[in-house]
Amino acid sequence: MNLFRSEEHIERWLGGRPPGATIGVTTLNELARAWWSDRLAPNWRPHTREQNQAILDRIGLTGPFWRLP
């Protein structure tokens, strides 16, 4: 789960491996804020799979790649 300067850098880094998913850093920031916001909260409880999937869906990260087990 890395940051890159551009698509060209990703392709070169992959070196022929099948790519995963690429999103912009703005979307990543939104994802991080939704995913981690309660992590230090005193009343923290583990997220269910459904809660986490809903976060991904809400941010537009849909499709088989983003489907949690």
């Binding site: 890395n2 300067r5 491996r17 690429t22 999103i23 991080a32 981690w36």
Partner: protein, 147 residues
């Protein structure tokens, strides 16, 4: 996850933020008023539930996501300290959990060029960067260190 393990997790995370590094079993046992053996067994249960990640060789903390207990390529300055994040996602997560802005320093895995992002008012200052996730979500926890 029962109340005992939730309390152990809260104590562990609290110490991580207070100390600026991963606490040891001794430190958590002292803070929680329990034994080292109780902390070790509790940490194992938390590890099994993906609430923390233990180092398989030392049984000490490897990850208390989004924080990393070991140096990584993702450094974050937030809340007056430098932290290590497990990945780019977690780097933004550290800014989030510390409820403030931050500076993320990393390097492009391809060319090694330094990347520096300031998160201010909850937004990154360079919106041109890209995040690549190699492993599909269904397999993130198959090998979380690789993911």
């Amino acid at each position: 996850m029962d109340e005992r393990d939730l309390a152990l997790r809260a104590s562990t995370y609290g110490l991580f933020v207070e100390l600026g590094r991963a606490p040891t079993t001794d430190e958590v046992a002292e803070a929680a008023g329990s034994s080292v053996a109780e902390v070790q067994s509790g940490w194992q249960r938390l590890h099994d539930q993906h609430a923390i990640v233990l180092d398989p060789t030392t049984a000490e903390i490897r990850m208390a996501n989004p924080f990393s207990a070991v140096p990584t390529a993702y450094r974050v300055h937030a809340d007056g300290r430098w932290w290590y994040a497990n990945c780019a996602w977690d780097a933004f997560g550290i800014c989030t959990v510390l409820q403030g802005d931050g500076r993320i320093q990393a390097s492009c895995p391809d060319c090694g060029e330094a990347l520096s992002i300031v998160v201010s008012d909850g937004r990154p200052d360079d919106e041109s960067l890209l995040f690549h996730c190699l492993v599909p979500a269904a397999h993130w926890w198959d090998d979380i260190v690789f993911t």
